[in-house]
Subunit: 249 residues, 2 copies
Amino acid sequence: MPRSHSALPRLFVDTDLAAGAALTLGKEQSLYLAAVLRKGVGDSVVLFNGRDGAWLCRLTGDSKKSVVLEVDEQIAPQTRPSDLWYGFSPLKTERLDYVIQKAVEMGAGIIQPVTTQFTQVHRLKPEKLAANAMEAAEQCEVLSVPEIAPEIGLDALLSQWPQMHGDRVLVFADEGEASSSPLGALQNLVGRRIGLLIGPEGGFSDSERERLRRLPFVLPISLGPRILRADTAAVAAMAIIQATIGDWR
Amino acid sequence: MPRSHSALPRLFVDTDLAAGAALTLGKEQSLYLAAVLRKGVGDSVVLFNGRDGAWLCRLTGDSKKSVVLEVDEQIAPQTRPSDLWYGFSPLKTERLDYVIQKAVEMGAGIIQPVTTQFTQVHRLKPEKLAANAMEAAEQCEVLSVPEIAPEIGLDALLSQWPQMHGDRVLVFADEGEASSSPLGALQNLVGRRIGLLIGPEGGFSDSERERLRRLPFVLPISLGPRILRADTAAVAAMAIIQATIGDWR
């Protein structure tokens, strides 16, 4: 993606965006632009809403409580929402922010917290995850903010998979799989809808692994000979999926 | 890699490791084992030195100042040091630790700080980077700790490349490259020695990009349609390199 306008602040808004429209930002975003970034009348920002692409906008009012903007011109068309489903085991706060950020950068479309036997963190706040995803989209110039699905247990996820996800293949990073390149197996999935499941720091339990490996919609892959942390495994697996059968092609 | 013994503490030591050998840990590692982890006589730990593989060892003395161990049996043979060269633009401390950790997980063998026009951090402490790499190797069960090369400017690096690196190909993540899968270009490099260069957060400057693209030993690749942070780009690129022509095969 060309980096023009990438020095400008980018903000996600709920309102429709079209040339000539005027809009007033909420308190938090107004404070951020006017007080933190010290933007004033005449300065430009980029707004997106996940539907109308990215728009160059100009400040016409710079009150710290309610910044007013005029929508100027579209600088990027809306991208299609990604269909990549990404299931991860919740981690502690700091690394959790990181995992959401990375998932957005790598083009996940649906982010699904999945609790497993070795998951140590439960009851995530969905609104916090959604805010993380929005912030990551702002930073990474992604125009579709991924959907955050409500937390689910691994057993329920697997039992409901065929009804919930149709013929979507569930790729899982299996630490017990002998080290071998996952490229060939993934290339066979071209055109298929993909889910990627990454376990918690301690990996899946033996019984979870056995259940996963027996299911017809599951594809175990290896991510090489080294043990990867969960967040590294997620980026590595998504890179390989995007490069073989995803949107890097 | 099987996770047997992975619940045990792993420590990097300088001394030779062989069955029956006795050794005394230094102050910091002794304190860590005896005081932080509360290990005592009879408890097991895993030691490695980057030369002799991984060894199961037993505490025979648990003084907080000098833990004494007996080397028991080899549990993993030494792996070959990786030949993957990874050049990165220094980042601020917190993210820097992260970048080193990820490079070790992804199997970099030589880690080279490279300063560019948009690099914001200079004069890294090499001993701090080496300690980071060692710690990452301990955590990720990597038996070869990567070498940390002294900081170098991009211009000098490129001028010296053919003399210093022979026929090693320098792959660089080029944000100006049209989005396309890097798999084909990388597959053509099978058997070649590889370097991977990732730019700073603001990317390479136009003149740096032009110079890189003109050099015969440089291969620009795309990492897809989204803008990736430098640390994400590093993991993504190393995943693709390892899966196509590296040690994931």
